[in-house]
Assembly symmetry: C2
Homo-oligomer: 345 residues x 2
């Protein structure tokens, strides 16, 4: 990957840090010729969230912190806050990060749906499942729509790789790192990355259960966190919208959306679209981690291949359904219920 | 408006001219400091299409030429043909044309829906109609969705102002001029501009009828041309897609969309979305020409204000319905039938 990614990572850390300093580590210095970033050291006991999820550690503030991070970074870089000129200037700047966008397009929206050299899965257990993904026409049609949104829709400055490996945590601190894939894209891609990776962590728990800990309580904590993240995000995003409705934001000027009931209607429609995007992208991110090139430690750390395949298949089946049927879900609670209703095989 | 618009006009003439030289006048020279464009002189009998439509002149090749122009300029600048890197580079270049994008956003998607200084309409006849537009919540919610697509979706290099005043014609030549509003935006905006302005011309005909010519036959020619434009566009766009499906286009790689029936499904979905966009944008363009700042000569040239208001109200009512209910139309024939079924008041 291009060395220039450090430049875009720095830009994104700075832009996101300005609007959400509590959850973005400060950049002290950037040297472009050397691609050198000097930034805040996230001291122990900070660990990568994914490792905490594998270890079964609860983070009581995670939903609150991540919804705060996503609401602020997405709202303040969207046309709900930006004027058109600010937005177009910012979009143009991040168009330069094309190599990394292209990488995401391939590994998320293309490779899992075709025979590709570096695809892998828990073989032979999932051979048929991987083939079924490549043969699922309605899945491939839906993925194309998501891909087109990813490539064409400059909705906000997104992190671009917001999985649980890009987040460092302690019990009272949540820090988002590694935004090297940042660009102006669809908000749902970030929301989906985080929610989808939480759901992957949920499905992996059965593989981490042992005599001392059946992980049942922890699975419920993950689902609660998933639910709370969306609900708190939605609440905070809307309150930022209300707070800044008289500003320069081009999308819903108060001169037109001038009645409380009309504003409510606009917000409801906006959030519904965003929710469906988030579910679609989240599902796509789950699928690619099971049959694509890059896997996640949540599953990889399950040593017993048949047990791992069991967990992965349940996650994959759920993700395929979610991607295709995302628009029938109206609330995150309905999604959580759908997960809870999946029978053991 | 900024002098820089000549630069973007030149860029667009060159890009579109490269893929569709038959319908885009050649640029011989551009001097950026002077904002001077030297380009092909479109000799008489070329006239502005809008004037021809007011005069009741039939252009038998218009649908064929305009569908050719739109299919080529939109296809070859989209991700159906572009790689991501080409696309992002081109998008970034045209982000500079932000002043003119902002202008369009205001006059098309904002001003008609609020009290704005320069809005006007045929008063007092349409006073209530203009007020009804400002008070129509469901219309305003739909317009916000179109505006967001206009501002955020870099689907192809669009002309950006493709009304019948931006087209010069003779009986066998059709030349598209004035792409100073060009940028990477939604394809439906160009399609809608052209189709919407043909429909405006249709509704204006009753105001141009006189004893010598009741314009009934001409009205049918306009509707036939509207219908043929979309149908020919769709046909040619799909055949360009088929022809280039093995190329660099990022959207539907043949390695994934690898079966004829799957390709067909993808094309059907793509064209349905594009059709609904075109209807929505076309309707928005119609509305803004009746109650917004800039009007069209089709109506303005009807001297009798009550007769003009009659024509405008019929167009406005149709456009409002079309904008709100665009997704219930599956074919252009259904739209044409809906126009033909409008009763005389």
């Amino acid at each position: 990957m291009t060395k220039e990614r450090a430049y875009f990572e720095t830009l994104a850390l700075q832009e996101h840090g300005r609007v959400c300093p509590n959850h973005v580590p400060e950049v002290y210095h950037f040297d472009r010729p050397m691609s050198l970033i000097a930034m805040r050291y996230l001291k122990p006991p900070h660990i990568i969230l994914r490792k905490g999820l594998i270890a079964g550690i609860e983070y009581p503030l995670l939903a609150q912190h991540m919804s705060d991070y996503m609401a602020k970074t997405l709202f303040f870089t969207s046309l709900l806050y930006h004027s058109t000129s600010e937005h177009k200037r910012a979009v143009a700047k991040f168009c330069g990060n094309m190599e990394l966008c292209r990488h995401t397009e391939r590994v998320v929206f293309s490779d899992p749906y075709k025979v590709a050299q570096y695809n892998r899965w828990t073989s032979p257990y999932l051979d048929r499942d991987a083939e079924a993904v490549r043969d699922d026409d309605s899945l491939k049609i839906e993925v194309a729509e998501l891909k087109s949104k990813f490539c064409e829709r400059a909705q906000a400055l997104i992190h671009g790789d917001l999985h649980t490996g890009s987040i460092m945590v302690t019990s009272d601190s949540t820090q988002v790192i590694d935004p090297e894939f940042a660009f102006y894209g669809p908000m749902g891609f970030d929301l989906g990355a985080f929610l989808g990776n939480l759901i992957l962590a949920f499905f992996a728990q059965d593989g981490h259960a042992d005599k001392g800990n059946d992980r049942q309580a922890y699975k419920q904590w993950i689902l609660r966190t998933t639910e709370e993240t969306w609900n708190l995000f939605q609440k905070q995003f809307i309150s930022l919208w209300d707070e800044h409705k008289d500003g320069n934001g081009e999308a819903y000027p108060v001169s037109i959306y001038n009645k409380p009931e009309l504003q409510l209607l606009a917000q409801k429609r906006y959030m519904a679209n965003l929710f469906h995007d988030a579910l679609g992208f989240g599902a796509a991110k789950m699928i690619r981690r099971i049959v694509g090139v890059a896997h996640v430690e949540d599953f990889e750390s399950i040593a017993d291949a048949s047990k791992r395949a069991y967990c992965e298949r349940r996650a994959l089946d759920f993700a395929k359904m979610l991607l295709k049927e995302r628009c029938r879900f109206q609330t995150i609670n309905e999604v959580i219920s759908a997960i809870q209703e999946i029978p053991a095989f």
